[in-house]
Every structure is written in structure tokens, then in C-alpha cells.
Subunit: 136 residues, 6 copies
């Protein structure tokens, strides 16, 4: 179903950069599971490595926001961008990191509300209030 091959573990092992990234994903997450996104990206080791390093830098280690809040923001963007895979994977991640049913419900309510007011604002072409402008 994909437009690229999804590399198996054996195929990944044979490419040093891919092997190193897969090893780091497993070590960082404390799990042997490598999801399909990384197996697709592995067709291009440079992009795989760059993308994983970015994700690792932003989403792990010493972050300002909690892991659950990070994942909720990720779900919000993925929903507005209509990325089915991303919604599935980050909802699973958010739950694994402790998102409660009540938090999930409130997240969905905010996403729906924001989409509604985004579209109302656009249809009315509301000009930005001067009070909202930042001073340089």
C-alpha cells in the first residue's frame, strides 16, 4: 500500500546508518518495536537519520512540556493535516505515556472547536485586532 518499500529488520541490518538509527530508536524507547514510518524512511538513510535526530531532540530528554502534552499537540497538528497514520500512532503514544480518557476527550473537543472558529474567521476574513500584535 505504500509508495516505498518498508524495510525488514534483515534489510535494515545491512545498511550501517539504518542499523545505527534503529538501534538508537530501540534504546531510546526501551522497546524492540520499530513502526512502519521508520521502515519507510529507511529507504533514504540520510533523511531517516535527520528525522530521527530531530524527533529525538524535540520529543525526548529534558523537555519543557510533559510527554503527554507533547503528544496531544502532535495529534492536533496531525488531525488538521489529515494524516491518518500519524493520528493513529500519536494517539497510541499519548495513551502509552499516560493520556487519560478525559484528557483525550478534552483534546478532541478543543480540536473540533478550533477548526470551527478557524473556518468562521476565514469565511469572515476578520482583521487582526491591534491588541494581538507583538512589539518587536
Amino acid at each position: 500500500m505504500a509508495t516505498v518499500r518498508l524495510l525488514s529488520d534483515a534489510q535494515a541490518e545491512a545498511i550501517p546508518t539504518v542499523k545505527a538509527v534503529f538501534d538508537d530508536i530501540r534504546a531510546t524507547r526501551g522497546s524492540d518495536f520499530i513502526n512502519n514510518f521508520w521502515r519507510g524512511l529507511a529507504n533514504d538513510p540520510a533523511t531517516l537519520e535527520r528525522t530521527w535526530q530531530s524527533l529525538k531532540a524535540v520529543m525526548t530528554g529534558e523537555t519543557v512540556l510533559s510527554p503527554v502534552v507533547q503528544e496531544m499537540i502532535y495529534i492536533a497538528v496531525s488531525t488538521a493535516n489529515g494524516c491518518s497514520y500519524c493520528i493513529h500512532s500519536h494517539t497510541a503514544a499519548a495513551k502509552a505515556k499516560g493520556m487519560s480518557e478525559a484528557e483525550h476527550a478534552e483534546l478532541l473537543a478543543i480540536i473540533g472547536l478550533a477548526a470551527q472558529t478557524n473556518h468562521l474567521v476565514s469565511a469572515m476574513q476578520v482583521p487582526v485586532d491591534p491588541a494581538f500584535l507583538v512589539q518587536s
Copy 2:
């Protein structure tokens, strides 16, 4: 610049439903300021009232998520939907509710990262891993 009139306070006063909503916005927010979004929506009192009641129900009172987290999610959706007004107004709201510069920076980093992986996933048409599917 808008496709509808933006009602002045005098015009709003003359329409009972609009007056009631504007009064409630002011009371709820503890501020006399009514931003242009509501002044545009006021052309249709029923939609104004319904939209305000939804926003009030979701974003105020006893919420599960903190007001800052709520606003960050709102910014994430508004950014992905490309709503300039909404990004301005909810960034201002998030700052007013205490979003730090570090939180803002991390929010932006996550939004950028999510957009990148959303598009990579879409371009590769990655199939959802069975592990991410929910049991009914």
C-alpha cells in the same frame, strides 16, 4: 477587509442576544475588550450565541487541561489550518495565561516536526501498524 460588518458596541447593544453574549464574554473574561471575531459573528446572533456557549463550555470552568495547554493545542490546530487571525489571537491568549517563551519555543518545534512527519508519512503512504489499532 472583512466580508461582514464588525459590529460596534452601539450596534451590539441594540440586539438583545448580542448584548447578552457580549456581556457574558466580558464577565467571563474579566475584561471590557471584545475582539473582532465576536463582532463579526454578531451579524448572526444565533451562531454567535452557539459558538460562544461552545467555547465557554470547552475552554473555561473546570477543565482537565490547564488553560495554557488548551491554548497551545488551539494554536497547533490554527497553524495547520493556516488561520492567521486565530494564530495571533490564541498566541496572545496563551501568553496572557502564562505561556513561557520556552513553552512557546517547544510548541513551535513540535508543530514544525509534526508537519514534517505528517507530510513524509503521506508521501510514502505508510500503512498503519496493527499495534496502533484500538480494540472496540
Copy 3:
């Protein structure tokens, strides 16, 4: 395949708010069928009730636009937002309410044309003609 459970009739019966909304959907539509959207929303009775009340207020009762035109607008937005479920459900609804094949064909032609000119305008960054601006 969903990120939330889809409530069965038995599960819905056990939650008073959900039961009341499902009963009202059935009475309003004159049909026993409750589609999956509502069964997913039912995980959060407050959002279920608010969403149904909004939809009922906008799409039923005394409306200015005909039910078929309302559904065609709904299809247009859902298509531009890339919501597969929504396109399926509202196309089915439009047909059930009497949308002819000729109307469906013209709707699709307008959606395609609008998307084309939307993107051409954006790529050229065409400035708004003063004649199109509204006087406040």
C-alpha cells in the same frame, strides 16, 4: 480502526445523556440508524450533546437553504478538508434528501474548479481588488 471505541446500543443505553441524544437523533431523522460518528463521540457525552445540538440547530428545522444545498455545502467543505468519512456520509445524506445526479456532477465540477483557482491565486499571491472589500 478508530482511536476511540464506537459505543453499541447497549453501551449507549447505559449513559443517560448518550441515550437522550441517540433518542433525539432517531426521532429527528425518523430512522433507527445511528452512524459511527455519533457512536465515537458518545465516549464524551458533553461533546456528543453539544455537537448534536449544533448540527440540529443548523441543519434541521426552519432553514433558509434547502436540505440538498446544505448537504452540498457540507460536501464541499469536507472535500477540501480531505475527510473521507464525511464525504461518504454527507454524499449519502444529500442523495437521500434528493440531490440529483446532475446536481452532484455540477457540485463536483465547482469543487474542482474552485480548488484550481484557489491554488493559482495562492501561487501568484494575487492582492485583493479594492472593489471586493466590504464597507463597515
Copy 4:
């Protein structure tokens, strides 16, 4: 502000294909006004001609939908695609063709509602009900 030149009447006169299209736009609309979209497209006479012929075929002559309904669908798509110029120009066109304030208000309410349910459906990844599928 555009990424292309906007051709003046004098510049348009000098290019036979552009002159012919501009003449036809004026004749079809019964107005001397040529809005900026066409002046930008005129940099590429072939795309100008093809786009105008498509728009003329879909939006004028013997249509199944009324001109106001056509424009409302155009506004719906343009809003979801976030095209500011298009929202301005087609809202002006809809008003010129007779869209009432009540119709405009209902259009906006439907656009907002559709965006909300589109995003809720996406965030929940609701599977399509079999009842909505078309038989070939």
C-alpha cells in the same frame, strides 16, 4: 505583493489571446471590470484561456444549480482552502448575484459546523458505515 506582474489593460491589449479572453470576460459578465486574478493569469495566455473557458463552462450558461448556490459552494471550498482572495471575490460575487444576509449567515454556520465535525471524525478515525458505501 504578487509573485507575478498584474497586466494592465494596455499590456493585455498587446497579446491577442489575452485580449480575446478579457473581451469575453467583459461580454459574459456585462461589466468592464477585470479583477486581479485574470490580470495575473494573463502572464500565461494558455492557462488564462483554459481557466476562463473552464470557469465559463461550469459557472455560466445553463447550470443546474442557481448562481447564488454555485457561489456559496465556491466560498465553502475557498474557506477550507484558506484562500483569502477567493473568499473576498466570491463573497462579493455571491452578494452581487443576490445572496441574502440570512443565506450568508447560514452558509457560514454550515462551514463552521462541517469543519468541526470533519476534525472530530479525523481525530477519532471513524470507519465509514457500510450503509454509506455506493454500489457500482
Copy 5:
């Protein structure tokens, strides 16, 4: 799964305009294969013909850009618009026309990067540098 019927060859044969377009698609592409997009569009012969003529004019014959580059641009737009069918069909077309694995990989890297900076720019609401504005 579609919202319209997909016309079989027999059904297409029976409609002169559809038959003519299908014949031209086959002749232009040097292949007997007619993909589902055209079979769906065939429900509306006028839109089928107009769409095919536009695609033929833009994508075939004497083009300025190479067929592979054209298809890569098509994939880029389709990805950002989240059109799964289009991503599949134009990736297949690009490969058939000679897109290498290295070109595909670089295309994906650019799409991901562009999406990231698009969203960062939007979230920051960066004003356009005067140096980027075109002189009329």
C-alpha cells in the same frame, strides 16, 4: 467505496463523449489501461472531457519541464493536499517516466522540509521581507 459509479469499458463505450476521451487517453498514453479516476469522472462527460483536455495540455506534448519533474511537482501538491489516490497514481507515473530512487528520496526530503518551514512560518506569522516583493 466511491461516491460515484466507476464506469466499465462497456458502459464507457455507450456514451460517445466518454468513448472519445477514453480512446484519446489510450492513444496518448500508448496503453490500454484506464485508471479509476477517469472511470469515476465519466459519470459527467463534460467534466471528464474538460479535465482530460486540461491535463493533456499541461502534462503532455511540448512541455518546458521534463515529465519526471512535472510528476514530482504533482506528487508534492497531492501530498500537501492529502490525496492518497493521487499520491499513489502520480508516484507510479513518475517511476514509469524514469524517476530514480535517489530523486524520489530527495523529493520526499524537500516535501518534509517545506512542510516544516511552512508551519514554522505560519506559527510565527513572519512578515514578508520587502526584498521578496515583485515590482509590477
Copy 6:
């Protein structure tokens, strides 16, 4: 107009990571000009550095695609995502790197065409032809 400050050269000089990135941008591009995007990102030196390193890796050095083709793909994504700033900046970059008026015109024609067929496909919910699926 931005939601963040745009750092001046003096402010950038005072932050070592920002200074290093700005120096590298200037050296890589052979120009003293730093556009607003980087001045906004500079509020978060880590994201500035990561974003610049990604852009430098993908868009400069030994690339498979020509610089003009790379910028055209960037414009295509930015247009579909509705990012005004990005369309302006990458159109300027494409021209500076040698994009001809004929190439720009063909790019726009493809973007418009792709958007049209993307939306037609979505509205019809066309199923992917088996011929387009990749073998793993």
C-alpha cells in the same frame, strides 16, 4: 505582525549559536541578507540550528535535483499549504536561481491542475487501482 520578535543583527550577535548559524547562512549563500524567517526562529537557537542544518543538507551541496527544480517543489508544497511568506520567498529564490518565466508558468499550471484533480478524486472517493500499489 509576528507572534515572536524578529532578531536584529545586534541581537543575533549576542547569542553564540545564533551568530554561528547566521554566519553560516551568509557564507553558504554568498550574501549578507538574512531573511525574516531566520530572525524569527532565532528566538529558539536550538530550533534555528536544527532547521538550518536540515535545509542546508537537503537544498545545498551535492543534490540530485537542480536548484531550480528543488525550489519549484518547495513552491508547490507551500502553495498547497497556503503559506504566503513561503510562496514569496521561494518564488524569489527560484527566480534568483534561474527559473524562467515559462517554467514558472508551467509550474503554476501544474499546481492548479493537481489541486483540481486532488479535489475531484477526494469528492468521488476513488479507490486506488491495484496497478498503483508497490510490491514490498
